[in-house]
């Protein structure tokens, strides 16, 4: 929601704008700081710690104790948090507690995978959703509209892992068109990578498509009830042009917001798709690290997710402003 930036009346100039953006970024930093504290508390509150979870059934009280000491888990929580924060502020994300890999290494690759999948899925889903949204708004209450609505509604009505399994059963096992698992490695070419992620991408598209499409449709239909649309019709403008040229630009703000929300989902919410397709993304890393209580990794990936969410919202707000001539061109 663009409320944050729209506070304080209709007109904004460049200076106000910069100030607002800076203010928002400031808020974001505070939010991230609070999140890091919450993550810390959360991980602390989880039963067991890294030592116990790695040693598992093999654990003996004395080995757990020794492990804790090595990991500095025996220090009081606030001391550990402050030392982590100190390093983090200096740009040192630390190392994974479990295998001592620098977190930048560990996360960098996965983050790029996550972003790659999200980007490809978004590139498919967003234009498709908007085009379908426009078409269903244009031909609303026709058979076409109802069919598209029902199909998209059904798509979001299945749990996403189920969609994934159905796609695998059909397109991978039965027809042998695409690989059933999406493993990535360094040597793959872009085409290889794209081919590998066809099924996860398709699953994600189906999951996010309906939401964006319905929102686009609703936003356009909302705009269609305004007097200027009636005016356009009375000027003899064709229906298609009315929807595309007159209605859509005014429906952009809610569309941008729902797209941003879904993009955030594509980055941060795809754990299940990652599990089903064995895709080495950040989500799995986070879940795994939570399970193993690998705090520095949880912190880093949690903060990345939160930043993506906050960043996308900020971008969405800015785009909303850019798309709104009222705010773009003050009196």
């Amino acid at each position: 929601m663009p409320t944050g930036l729209l506070n304080g009346g209709g007109s904004l100039n460049m200076k106000d704008m910069t100030a607002t953006i800076l203010k928002r970024i400031g808020h974001s930093v505070i939010t991230l700081f609070v999140i890091s504290i919450l993550i810390f508390i959360g991980v602390e509150a989880l039963p067991g710690d890294l030592a116990e979870s790695i040693l598992g059934q093999n654990a003996l009280p004395e080995t757990v104790e020794a492990f804790r000491k090595e990991l500095k888990l025996d220090l009081p929580p606030h001391v550990r948090y402050i030392s982590w924060l100190g390093d983090f502020v200096q740009g040192d994300m630390g190392r994974s507690l479990s295998n001592h890999r620098p977190i930048t290494d560990l996360i960098g690759w996965r983050l790029s995978n996550t972003l790659f999948l999200a980007a490809v899925a978004a590139m498919v889903a967003v234009p498709l959703a908007i085009i379908l949204g426009i078409l269903t708004a244009l031909y609303r209450n026709t058979l076409f509209d109802r069919i598209v609505s029902m199909v998209s509604l059904s798509a979001i009505s299945f749990p996403e892992f189920f969609i994934a399994y159905i796609l695998i059963a059909l397109l991978s096992v039965k027809l042998s068109l695409f690989p059933s698992i999406a493993t990535m490695d360094g040597q793959m070419s872009l085409m290889d990578k794209l081919y590998t992620i066809v099924l996860p991408c398709l699953t994600l598209t189906m999951v996010v498509l309906a939401h964006m499409m319905r929102q686009t449709r609703a936003a356009i239909i909302n705009v269609l009830a305004t007097p200027y649309i009636e005016m356009a019709l009375l000027k003899g403008v064709s229906r298609l042009r009315v929807v595309v040229v007159h209605a859509f630009p005014n429906a952009l703000s809610p569309v941008i917001n729902v797209v941003a929300l879904n993009m955030a989902y594509l980055v941060a919410g795809v754990v299940i798709v990652e599990v089903v397709f064995v895709y080495p993304g950040l989500g799995q890393l986070l879940v795994d690290s939570v399970a193993k209580r690998d705090l520095p990794v949880v912190q880093a990936s949690g903060l990345i997710f939160a930043s993506v969410y906050i960043g996308l919202n900020l971008i969405a707000d800015l785009l909303s402003i850019a798309s709104n001539p009222r705010l773009r061109n003050p009196r």
């Binding site: 009830a225 200027y228 005016m231 003899g236 007159h246 630009p249 709104n324």
Partner: protein, 542 residues
């Protein structure tokens, strides 16, 4: 016949509450080339619906159920979308009530003005722009070269309305439908728009349907006037004939609205001051003062009218007095006691003594509460009256505002606008206030209905001795009800004094302009006024 438009037996139905009901009932209408026909009536008369139907258009939820609309030989009732699309904008154009709402906020004005021209393949974009600029110039828009490249929100209401006229005339249509084009404007702005419309129709020789509820306005433009009521034609005649010899009593009533006489009041004694506004300044944003050191006094049993055009700060003053907008400086003194700046800091008793009636009865009443709750709540809230006693008192109030007792269990949605406003009046009075602030209480209502409300308010004042602070932009209202008049402009009071003094011999230029901008029920009024202004201008120049 050489009529460009020929409507016969037009019946239009609307879908409401799961059933079709008639909105327009068998109306016949003809329009000759170059002729201006005024359609007049109150809300619900079906005049806008007829206007749209003449373009072969009906709003969602409406349908043209029978009749024929013959435009220059083409039957629009049966025409295909494509045919209608071709005619609209090029041969019949439309000017909507609110230009601010009817211009697409996402596009520059000129793009919208030239769209029809370009899309119908008549001109290239560059040619069309040139032509549009020419039209702007003709309509006396400021900065005709630049104004088209602004977005709608960057242009003032009156100018937008003229731009919309320019858009309508772009294709030199045979007919322009004007749908209340000046209703949303201030009186001083209205004149310019009326002038523009008059110029255009004369210049192009375009036929026009001019739809309005204001007989004075339409008489300035129309050759003929048709009076409508509840979807039926009441009467139709040449403008001057209609004004001079109205055939039907309904028309007479409409005619009399503008010539409202002051409602009789008992002689006022100089009584003690009830409200004193002392050097109040207020702002929504820190920098821009909306109220600039306002002083105002209201005495018991007196009606003070606060007059000004939109943006003058008169509603803001009401918010400052009630405490909804705590003033930056100055104080509000009620019955000798300074009130807290914010309503939150005021006690229940002082809240009770000052009540407010709003402009829009639709939003002033909670749609989910019955009339009994609406009127009864102040009774139980302030006086702890409940149960049977409360119901009895509510019924008394209903009687007082001249509504049937059966309304007690109704919801606001089941009432008409005027009835709702009556309920609002009753709700305010139920608190037994000393002062009632009336914020444009009649401007959302039809003239006849508004007049009834004014009468009711006056009667109540006579009975109860309450004071009114009456915020309005309508000088007829002022004439009818005010004892004192305060004129506001840009957050400042420019003039105040007894009603007769202000209305008859205004001191300030602005007050003068305001007064002579009010249309008179005389077809020559506009021409005369413009002539006069031209003369003064040239005199000044000389």
């Amino acid at each position: 016949m050489k009529n460009i438009l020929n409507i016969k037996g037009l019946t239009i139905e609307g879908f409401n509450d799961n059933q079709w009901s008639t909105i327009v009932d068998g109306v016949d209408l003809t329009l000759a080339r170059g002729e201006v026909l005024g359609l007049i009536g109150e809300s619900g008369a079906g005049k806008s619906t007829i206007g749209l139907a003449s373009m072969g258009y009906s709003r969602r939820g409406c349908r043209i159920s029978s009749g024929s609309i013959l435009f220059d030989g083409t039957e629009l009732c049966q025409a295909s979308d494509r045919v209608k699309q071709k005619i609209r904008g090029t041969r019949i154009a439309y000017v909507a009530q609110s230009a601010a709402a009817s211009f697409n906020p996402a596009h520059r004005l000129i793009r919208q003005c030239t769209e029809t021209r370009v899309r119908h393949g008549q001109l290239t974009a560059a040619q069309a722009e040139k032509e549009a600029i020419e039209n702007y110039r003709r309509l006396l828009l400021p900065d005709p070269e630049g104004i088209g490249f602004r977005y709608p929100h960057q242009v003032s209401g009156g100018q937008l309305q003229r731009a919309m006229v320019a858009m309508a005339m772009a294709c030199k249509p045979d007919i322009i439908v004007f749908d209340e084009p000046t209703t949303a404007l201030d009186v001083t702005t209205q004149i310019e728009v009326l002038n523009a419309i008059k110029q255009i129709t004369r210049h192009l020789g375009t036929a026009a349907l001019y739809i309005t509820h204001d007989l004075a306005v339409v008489s300035q433009l129309a050759d003929r006037i048709m009076v409508l009521k509840n979807g039926r034609k009441v009467e139709e005649n040449q403008t001057r004939k209609l004004l001079d010899t109205p055939g039907k009593s309904y028309t007479q009533k409409l005619l009399s609205v503008r010539s409202q006489r002051p409602i009789k009041k008992p002689v006022q004694l100089k009584q003690n001051v009830i409200l004193e506004v002392n050097q109040v300044s207020a702002a929504y944003k820190k920098k821009e003062l909306v109220l600039d050191t306002i002083d105002l006094t209201i005495r018991r049993g007196q009606t003070v009218a606060l007059v000004g055009e939109s943006g003058s700060g008169k509603s803001t003053l009401a918010r400052a007095i009630t405490g909804l907008l705590p003033p930056l400086s100055g104080e509000v003194i009620f019955q000798g006691n300074p009130l807290g700046a914010s309503y939150r800091s005021r006690d229940r008793e002082s809240l009770r003594k000052m009540q407010m009636i709003y402009q829009m009865p639709e939003t002033a009443l909670n749609p989910k509460q019955t009339i009994e709750t609406a009127i009864g709540r102040p009774l139980s809230f302030y006086f702890g009256i409940s149960g049977r006693e409360k119901r009895k008192q509510v019924l008394e109030f209903l009687d007082r505002i001249e509504l049937p007792a059966s309304y007690i269990n109704r919801y606001p949605g089941e009432l008409s606008g005027g009835e709702k406003q009556r309920v609002c009046v009753a709700r305010a009075l139920a608190a037994k206030p000393e002062l009632v602030i009336c914020d444009e209480v009649t401007s959302a209502l039809d003239n006849l209905v508004g007049e009834e409300i004014l009468k009711l308010l006056q009667n109540l004042q006579n009975d109860l001795g309450v004071s009114y602070l009456f915020i309005t932009h309508d000088l007829a209202t002022v004439r009818a009800i005010a004892d004192e008049v305060v004129v506001m402009l840009k957050g400042k009071i420019v003039e105040k004094g007894p009603r007769n003094k202000i209305l008859n011999s205004p001191g300030h230029d602005y007050t003068k302009r305001l007064l002579n901008s009010v249309p008179k029920m005389n077809p020559d009024w506009l021409d005369d006024l413009l002539e006069k202004r031209k003369n003064t201008r040239s005199k000044k120049a000389a």
